[in-house]
């Protein structure tokens, strides 16, 4: 296990390096010049050239890449080309909002999907099962740009229970978390229900019942636990995606997260900020995958990582 942990941690370095290198090349290949956007309409060619030189954009791409890596190794992601702050400062201001929304959406999805899938699997074909599948179909079909405003109109405008948008207390969090959570819950219900139905007929479940175990214990210890592997995989993928920021939900709910920041940085060709955002997103994905591997082992002790 220790070897596995060490190996995975070491793999982090080339993975992140690959991600930021790829983005470094791609962002420089797409059309658009940050100097043009920064200086606007009134600057002369000389002004533009001077700024290009002072930002180091006049140097060959390989030289720029080398200094980017050297700074990165020193923990310096540079300064935003537009906002008067370092990339680290800007990301640090936005990251808590993304983490908060991602965690709450994940919890909302779990709170919705686990009871629903379990009840559906207890009586396959029953009305709860049919309702769960209908919910899942709707959840998968409704896009967030439609669902979000719909929830706003119902909960904020008609009922007056929540603010329309913005970040603040629990009431601000409710609608964006539910909007994101419903879509995720729709997938989880289907996956978990199918896994439960597979597991429920296994011999060891029948044996557990034959031993006289309480039904709740059978479900928790033998059915749910064995059905969790596929669910964990899906949940980790979804959670990784949430940490990358959900552009549409963040935009609709005026949520100041990483998704909006990344898109704004790409549109303005704010190279250092794009690099910083990508680094954070890639790190989140790698860490979530790493934790997922650990969870596999926790849920199913038979899984071995070669030690």
């Amino acid at each position: 296990m220790k070897q596995f942990l060490l190996r995975r941690l070491l793999l982090l370095v080339p993975t992140l390096l690959g991600a930021v290198s790829l983005v470094f090349v791609l962002i420089h290949l797409i059309p658009g010049d940050p100097v043009e956007v920064m200086l606007g309409e009134t600057a002369t060619a000389a002004d533009k050239e001077a700024l290009r030189q002072s930002l180091g954009f006049d140097r060959p791409l390989a030289t720029q890449y080398r200094s980017f890596l050297v700074n990165l190794a020193a923990g310096d992601l540079g300064r935003s080309l537009y906002e008067p702050a370092s990339v680290v400062q800007i990301i640090r201001a936005r990251l808590p909002a993304t983490l908060q929304l991602a965690l709450c959406a994940m919890i909302a999805a779990t709170l919705i999907s686990f009871p629903l899938a379990t009840m559906a699997a207890i009586r396959p074909g029953g009305w709860i099962d049919r309702s769960a599948l209908t919910f899942s179909l709707l959840g998968l079909s409704l896009p967030n740009f439609w669902l979000g405003p719909l929830l706003m109109i119902v909960f904020s405008i008609h009922l007056g229970w929540t603010p329309v948008s913005g970040r603040g207390g629990l009431t601000h969090l409710f609608l964006p978390a539910v909007t994101l959570g419903l879509g995720m819950a729709a997938i989880l219900v289907r996956i978990l229900r199918a896994s439960l139905l597979q597991v429920i007929h296994q011999d060891y479940v029948q044996t557990a019942r034959a031993k006289g175990l309480q039904e709740s214990r059978v479900w928790l210890k033998h059915v749910l636990r064995n059905a969790m592997l596929s669910v964990i995989t899906i949940m980790s993928l979804q959670f990784g995606g949430l940490l990358a920021g959900s552009l549409i939900t963040e935009t609709i709910f005026s949520w100041p997260g990483i998704g909006r920041l990344t898109v704004q940085a790409i549109q303005t060709r704010d190279y250092p900020l794009v690099q910083g955002c990508v680094l954070v997103i890639a790190t989140s994905y790698v860490l979530v995958n790493f934790i997922t591997d650990l969870l596999y082992k926790l849920v199913d002790p038979r899984i071995s990582y070669g030690d």
């Binding site: 043009e36 008067p84 207890i122 405003p149 603010p163 603040g168």
Partner: protein, 518 residues
């Protein structure tokens, strides 16, 4: 089995309760979105990037910045330059300005404003180490001399009439340092001072109690960043936003009028929308083809159906508010029959009459904003009726703007924002202004126009300048390097309790200093 399941559910409930509690604890952040008493909440679309007036270029930064910073001169609601920090000013000769400053002005940090602060502001922009995008605008400036504590002199290298616009630049305290190096902008002396700046969320301004014109009527202004126009309208309906200006979808106005107490005002704006033309294209370099394009566009139907009358038909770059506006400049009303005639005369006859084959094909570039795309669809349809086949191409902003700058287009549509001095014609149409030296993106060259624009720059007498720019407008209205479309009106949506706000043609919010709310 059902009983056992219920027992399971009961136990599970404890787990979910704990989880829910965790959510609550995690989410418990001070409710920053609550409105402080007496504050006005204004909804804006995007994050102001840089409030320091020496660096700000985006509209939100400039408009919010003008509430924090005073300038020597300021445009009023009728686009006339008025003194602000300048108690009085005069021209000593054709290239020297003398300013006497007010003595009762203090910065938000309590320091008294002197000529040294003004000198510092301009010199920090001119500093070669500064990354200010405004350095190019100050190029004609030779020296700034502080004569006394509240008196200073600006000397230009040569007479340059439009330079007077540069005296509307916000003044920062000399203690601010040369570059905006920390997250907070330097202190200003304006009617509001910066209280909080939360990137992507809001900007909070509080009233400056020691403001030299008197304390503002509002306790403060919260600029809440709400990127989605529909959500801004819903926030307004809920009462979480009190004021919005522009950035609204045209079809939302009728909804706001009928579903809220909104007071909606539409005022003539200065933002000019046009179709840009590549003059190096073998077909588009024919003047009659450009005139045909202008005649083929049915602006009126687009204005009524797609834009719901939030624009007014334009004759050229300068709006009727501008002192140099010429209302007699030629217009090109919708006339498809005339467009066909002009194309025939230019030598591009229709190969099969009303048949499907076009006279020629062009591409039309626009951004991927939904409304822009729908307008471009209408252009395509209208141009097709006169035999011009259009291939629509929409791009995200960075790619689109890059193509326009490099001349990689046939036709495109864009807007010019915040036009005040008519010298902007030099930047857009003078033959020396081809990118990267200016914004003559269509590569238009006309020696007569060049002569007029050079003359307009060095002529200081306004009535003489007016004659020059009338000639410029007439020449361009005939030659059509741009096809004028419309001027965007300023759309103001406000709660009934907001009083004293006066709309400015360029969308400035400075009249909030005299507004009251409640």
């Amino acid at each position: 089995m059902r009983e056992r399941f219920l027992l399971h559910c009961h136990r599970s409930l404890r787990f979910y309760s704990v989880a829910l509690l965790l959510v609550v604890c995690f989410a418990c952040r001070s409710p920053s979105n609550e409105r402080p008493p007496g504050y006005l909440v204004a909804g804006i679309e995007s994050n102001p990037l840089q409030l320091d007036p020496r660096y700000s270029t985006d509209a939100n930064s400039v408009r919010i910045g003008n509430l924090i910073y005073n300038s020597l001169l300021r445009y009023d609601e009728r686009s006339r330059l008025q003194s602000e920090l300048a108690e009085n000013w005069r021209m000593l000769d054709d290239r020297t300005y003398l300013f006497n400053l007010r003595r009762d002005v203090t910065f938000h940090n309590g320091k008294r404003l002197t000529a040294a602060d003004v000198k510092h502001t301009y010199e920090s922009i001119l500093d070669p180490g500064s990354l200010s995008p405004k350095r190019g605008l100050l190029r004609p400036l030779e020296t700034i001399d502080q004569i006394a504590s509240h008196q200073l002199r600006f000397r230009l290298r040569a007479p340059h009439a439009p330079f007077i616009e540069q005296f509307t630049m916000g003044i920062v305290s000399a203690e601010a340092g040369k570059a905006a190096s920390d997250y907070r902008p330097p202190p200003g002396s304006g009617p509001f001072r910066l209280e909080a700046l939360e990137s992507g969320e809001k900007v909070v301004l509080g009233a400056n109690p020691n403001y030299w014109e008197g304390r503002p009527g509002l306790a403060g202004v919260v600029f809440k960043i709400v990127p989605d126009a529909l959500v801004r309208a819903l926030e307004f309906k809920q009462g979480a936003i009190d004021f919005m200006q522009n950035d609204l979808e045209p079809e939302m106005l009728p909804w706001l009028k009928s579903n809220t107490d909104a007071r909606v005002e539409l005022n003539q704006g200065t933002t000019f929308q046009y179709i840009g033309i590549n003059l190096t294209h073998p077909i588009l370099r024919h003047q009659k083809v450009r005139q045909a394009v202008a005649c083929a566009i049915d602006r009126d139907s687009i204005i009524r159906h797609l834009l719901k009358n939030i624009v007014s038909e334009a004759s050229g770059l300068l709006s009727p508010h501008n002192w140099a506006y010429d209302e007699s400049a030629r217009r090109w009303p919708y006339d498809p029959a005339r467009a066909k005639r002009l194309l025939d005369e230019a030598g591009f006859s229709d190969p099969d009459g009303d048949g499907p084959r076009p006279r020629f094909r062009l591409s039309f570039k626009t951004t991927n904003i939904d409304l822009r795309r729908r307008i471009a669809e209408a252009f395509k349809e209208q141009l097709q009726r006169v035999g011009i086949e259009i291939e629509l191409r929409s791009y995200e902003w960075g790619t689109f703007f890059s193509d326009i700058k490099t001349g990689n287009f046939h036709l495109y549509s864009l807007a010019w924002v915040g036009i005040e001095d008519p010298d902007i014609y030099h930047q857009i149409f003078h033959s020396s202004s081809v990118p990267p030296n200016g914004d003559n993106r269509g590569r238009y060259r006309n020696s007569e126009l060049d002569r007029l624009l050079e003359q307009g720059r060095v002529t200081l007498d306004r009535s003489e300048r007016k004659v020059i720019y009338h000639n410029v407008q007439r020449l361009l209205a005939e030659d059509l390097p741009y096809v004028p479309l419309w001027w965007w009106k300023n759309v103001i949506v406000k709660q009934p309790g907001l009083r004293g706000f006066v709309a400015y043609p360029d969308g400035e919010l400075i009249s909030l200093k005299r507004a009251t709310f409640g």
